[in-house]
């Protein structure tokens, strides 16, 4: 049994997956959107669109997932993407997923580590790293760090 557990832990470690940046906000959905919009603006980003997945599903008779998606962007990101690797345009604008949970809203970014796997060249990797740093600042600001 000990051997089996060891193999399981090893396999788990080998297949460990990168995870998106996550934080939580002690507010309701609209309060969380407001806080994120301000934090994004402080980092030079603008709110492009709120995708109300919850409303769209409830309107059609499906259960409420308590989930909305925020699209944020800045013109320079697109210019950098076009210059560095136009295929990066398939993942822009950056997205933040908001899920209502007890006591607040959990916010997750897209998994940018996964994008680095998708676009393995070093130049694109550097650009993705810079976006990831900016997302960390935005999420750090709303979580009060």
């Amino acid at each position: 049994m000990k051997h089996s557990c060891a193999i399981l832990v090893l396999a788990w470690a080998l297949t460990a997956q990168a995870s998106p940046l996550t934080t939580s906000i002690g507010a309701d959905m609209s309060g969380a959107i407001d806080e994120l919009t301000i934090a994004a603006q402080n980092s030079g980003y603008q709110l492009v669109k709120v995708q109300p997945v919850d409303k769209a599903l409830v309107k059609r008779g499906f259960p409420d997932p308590g989930l909305r998606i925020l699209f944020i962007g800045k013109p320079s990101s697109f210019e950098q993407a076009i210059r560095t690797n136009p295929r990066l345009l398939s993942v822009l604008p950056l997205r933040l997923t908001l899920i209502v949970e007890e006591g607040g809203v959990v916010v997750s970014s897209d998994d940018l580590e996964m994008w680095k796997e998708m676009f393995p060249d070093p130049e694109t990797g550097k650009l993705i790293d810079s976006w990831q740093r900016e997302l960390k600042v935005i999420l750090g600001e709303v979580s009060g760090y």
Partner: protein, 156 residues
């Protein structure tokens, strides 16, 4: 079978599962790509929306890539994102795993080139293989086929 044996078999199955999921991921291409030769971005958008509707998806919206980021006159007209959805599929997938939101709503990016318009989308099966949820992956393999079917029909 003794309790110890059952435990060992369960562990082995878990190991096989976690080792084979990344292999499945490697078999998937990260991006799905198609092209509409000799078309401009307006024509490509129209054809794509028709293909979306005829494949049992609902067209949600399209936006120029820098929409709301630059004044209207400065917009790059050569890159456009088309969003679409199958609400039943989305509801089921979110119930299985909220990380599905990583690739929802469905989207195809159109990039106008000198030869026509390229269509690019992130392969949902490539993403789901990395999330390690086998049941979600089954949905995403189907979703990948739907993307391909939409792109092929638009390109006809």
């Amino acid at each position: 079978m003794s309790k110890n044996h059952r435990w060992t078999v369960t562990m082995i199955l878990w190991v096989i599962f976690f080792v084979t999921m990344p292999v499945a991921a490697q078999e998937q291409e990260a991006l799905l790509v198609g092209s509409l030769k000799g078309r401009n971005i307006g024509q490509a958008t129209e054809r794509l929306i028709q293909a979306i509707n005829s494949n049992n998806f609902t067209f949600v919206r399209f936006q120029d890539v820098d929409d709301r980021l630059v004044p209207p006159g400065w917009k790059a007209k050569s890159v456009r994102i088309v969003y679409f959805c199958n609400f039943e599929l989305m509801s089921k997938a979110l119930a299985l795993d909220t990380r599905t939101s990583e690739f929802l709503p469905c989207r195809i990016t159109l990039i106008e080139t000198a030869q026509g318009v390229d269509m690019i989308a992130v392969n949902p099966a490539w993403v789901s293989a990395r999330l390690g949820n086998h049941r979600l992956h089954e949905y995403c393999v189907q979703m990948k086929k739907d993307y391909q079917s939409i792109m092929e029909e638009a390109a006809l």
